[in-house]
Symmetry: D2
Subunit: 357 residues, 4 copies
């Protein structure tokens, strides 16, 4: 019999909970009907004026003990949940978002190579196309280890206008020829919508760099191409922003998107960026897209490529991207992070040594 | 007559809103009664088991259209609001939090100097006590400009155990003697609770450095002293964490706390830290404590001391802290950021040149 | 006579220092001659293969006590200094970099309004053009307070493709008409090079947003226009990167660039970004360009607009940018940070109350 | 015969290089002799006044073409290299720093359990000791999977003084009894030097939390104990700072230190901190200490424990730390990140499924 008043009060709370539950669902039902009318009329669900008026009414009617601020905060949550429901029902859900546990986008290249199936895909090559000889030497090594996708970067986004900006279309020609010789696919960075038609003749996979991750014009233009797109996370972007950037491409018509994690900016200076390894499982949980780890630009140093490569495989990434150069110290960009060819072989050995059961 | 079904539906929503409002307040009223019983029993308001059970009941009863996740999220908000109400009512609100627009803590030193009233307080002095001559030379300059509070740091927290760790108690003796000669107050960093009794004989204001901002034992020990405490924000701490760290001191009995903003760690390398100037109005809005800006450790470079000093005054800080050394290049620490004596005079001129109306 | 061996050794060091000094300058002289030949030949100064060979020779010849790593590190510094000298001599110095203490770019708009002279310029207006009525109401208030430059944003870069993307050209028409009525200039964000010709008919100042700060194609296109350009720092960009982004515009022909500081991403969540107030004096020290502080996007909250505005003026910025909306809660974007019209007046009063002597 | 003048000039450069090389080593030799005298006298190697004088002499003697700034910058590099050489020669190298490729600290607990050898060590247990039943239930599960080291946290450092602060010594008693029953070792967090003697009776491994990573008094006190110490990286600390913090312990006499990576603060909000996986190979490269990954506090969410655990193993960590609770939703702290017992078993399965060859 102890705790009697407490039990009574708790019983009252339980009952109120049930009444609120019922009203919330009744409210959601009514809002859904409004949503259907709005959809027919072509107006948006979100109506800030109406929300503002409802909040004013509630404020006027509120006698406490909850303060007006609390009441408004709680109703804003209810509005948000209602809006979310309307959007869900209108099937306006994010295209790239995973809906079921086993949904996944598998990208198939013209030669049958797949990204996003159970295999671990290695994308490799020099930071930039510098010459046919350099590309040839790297391609031979990649081919030896079964790499099917080669970097062929001819437009380099650089911090300074005085730095090497890439060879342009002649660089793409070199990349294409070398790739053809070894029956490999070429991926190359695009910087502006105006480059898309020309580049379409040369590349198998478009590449959007960190600096353009939120360039909506470019993303929309890539929504119209046939080729898949690698979308690299900006070093200053949240995962949510990366997913919405992918949505710009998907929404514009191209579902074949590969996300690339490459590290975020932090105060730590021993690495160029801090590789956000947790991003891999989170992106795979939230989207159905393949996720690749760039182990070169994240670390910015070649000496930890092997452990990072092994971690990328173990964490469940669909592959990794690594820069390889015949002679890194004389490379025209990213000298400190490109692997030599023997280092590339050692990396491949290391990755192959990791088995996940 | 157009929009008829829409108007009807909106009318229904309005009515449901009012019913929910009524139930929410009824629920809050009942919860308050439970809170009063809990307070008598000495138990905490937060009861996760009970919350967990209520959520299970709601989930069982929910028939949609809201999903269980949405219902649980909305009720968690309601629980949170209820808990906040109980805590408010129990007057367990944060001691250092500002309750009214004009509440403010004004700290008065033995000589009548005040911090947190309308004046702009300058705290200055060398990074560390090195010798009587150095302290004397700096004190003379400070005194000339009306500075009433001098740094007298004898225990230096250093990254490496091989770096200069301060002169210890002899350093405090030097600081005390020089300060007495110029009738100034001494502030000095304390690193461990064990130093508090000895230091109490020498210092007028205790100083907690960034590395100890969350050292609860030290904060509690400083809650027992007579002297005010300067609490410096850690370069990795959020404002909320700084406020709670101050609360440890206030809760332990010492209400005389001065908050110090000193920059946070970011990727920008041109400054040692990024001075978070917005922290000043936010801390003054959220607490009633004086807020001081450290313009030396934030920038880590002397060449922007003047603009930062002017900004600190204009943004509404209660003062600033700046390091001054007779010969910065040979200082035993912080050589790059300490001002020379002529630079200190120029800074004082610059600050005095800013008038806020 | 004490310290005799020490004095001897120090004398030897002094002599070696002088010999090294002489050789370094002799080396620099010779390198300059090579630089002049390279310039005639049109080849770049930087020759990594040659550097690599020199390092190998030095390594072969080194007998210690300095390790090969140390020797290589020291010579890399010498190479870097030599290269910098060659570049300086070739007058390839950064165009936007300040060369003398009093050099400054003053931007003059068609109506004679100047940015970067001694006045403090306020740029204001709603986040986005929504309607003629809204623009009219805001413009009237701005005009009353002497604001000469109005925001007229018609293309909104948004995280989600489903968010309001701006009214497009019709929005520019509204902005232009309203601005004309009040004899104000319009600044508007451009997202893609393809928009530049059309927008040139409407806008007085182009605006590059944070997401496009490193969009080299856009920057180069803006190097060709007559209008000045506001270049906003990306929330993930270092100051060095911002300066080089400005250099892309200057290098392409447009010297009229206004830098805008708007906060960087940090772990602090009480503000949308952390306003980097130190960036203002640093940018003014390193470049001769005007620097404006965006107090809306940095804080992401309207309640600290006044202190931030005062700080921006006191720190030496050339002006500030603030968002104003007739009814912020119903704004189509940035609802939390736009000021109401009365709040805008209060901000203007606050700024006018700050006097810098 | 083409390029004749160029070849000549390059020949001159090569000769000057060799002369500079010779002088640098001669200078280093002389400085070493000075260093030996300084060591006998007990003075420090670093003499800023002497450096300042040398720079002034060089500036006076410099006739260009190198500017005084360049000359001073180059000589500062030479001074730095010389100082580094002196320090190396005096064997004052950092104790915890790895000197040879295969040097490693293997820590052996009283029962023979080793950390830092080839095995992958799992440290697990609830966030805090709450009751004997809870500890017993977790210990049984850990024991079943061969875990040899259990968390037994009785002093909790909390942001707010009103949060649960741990059970104190009674909590240690519970932890000890339960550990003894299952023949496990206990690790427990120490917050203040004053707790060390009492805790020594209960714990097998001391634990220093992120908030105390730079609490020099505590680190020195732990340099005097027999037990090994887990040193957790602060979320705001660089790797260099972590290594120096370990050096405080080693320097004070205790070589048995385990480093723990636990994520750093960034702008990303989907995880509590951003796990810095690159820290593992870097710490193992720079030090000879074991490195453990805390997969609970880094992510702050239980749903990615498995991929992070697999990544920790693959990247070469010596083990991981994970929080396990019989009923996480009612845990007194860290409710969102503690694993249930079935989730713990699934994690162990996942880790065991990773094989590194």
């Amino acid at each position: 019999m102890s705790n009697h008043p407490m039990d009574d009060l708790r019983g009252q709370i339980d009952e109120i909970n049930m009444q609120i539950l019922k009203l919330l669902n009744q409210r959601a039902e009514t809002a859904s009907q409004i949503g259907r009318i709005q959809q027919e009329l072509g107006t948006t669900f979100y109506d800030p004026v109406r929300e503002s008026e409802m909040l004013q009414e509630l404020e006027k009617a509120n006698n406490g003990p909850f303060s007006n601020e609390t009441i408004k905060a709680l109703f804003k949550e209810i509005f948000r949940a209602t809006l979310a429901l309307e959007e869900t029902e209108a099937r306006q859900k994010i295209i790239v978002q995973r809906k079921t546990a086993d949904e996944k986008t598998v990208i198939t290249l013209p030669d049958g190579t797949q990204i996003g199936n159970s295999a671990f895909t290695v994308i490799a090559g020099s930071c930039a196309v510098e010459s046919a000889e350099q590309m040839e030497e790297v391609a031979a090594a990649l081919s030896e280890r079964g790499v099917r996708i080669m970097r062929g970067m001819a437009f380099k986004p650089r911090t300074s206008p005085y730095d090497f900006q890439g060879l342009g279309e002649p660089g793409l020609q070199i990349a294409r020829q070398v790739a053809n010789k070894y029956s490999m696919a070429v991926t190359s960075e695009v910087l502006d919508p105006s480059q898309v038609p020309m580049m379409s003749d040369y590349v198998d996979i478009f590449w959007v760099g960190a600096r353009n991750m939120q360039n909506a014009h470019l993303l929309r233009a890539l929504g119209k191409v046939q080729q898949p797109v690698i979308l690299k996370r900006s070093f200053g972007a949240s995962l949510k922003e990366l997913i919405y950037a992918a949505e710009y491409i998907a929404y514009s018509g191209n579902p074949n998107i590969i996300l690339m994690e490459r590290g975020v900016r932090t105060f730590e200076t021993w690495t160029r960026n801090t590789l956000d390894i947790s991003a891999v499982p989170l992106l795979k949980m939230e989207t159905h897209l393949p996720v690749i780890v760039d182990i070169s630009h994240s670390a910015g140093r070649r000496d930890i490529a092997q452990p990072l490569g092994k971690a990328a495989k173990a964490v469940g990434a669909d592959g990794l991207m690594v820069e390889v150069h015949p002679n890194p110290p004389v490379a025209m960009s990213d000298a400190k992070q490109q692997l030599t060819i023997p280092e590339f072989h050692a990396l491949m050995d290391a990755i192959e040594g990791v088995t996940i059961n």
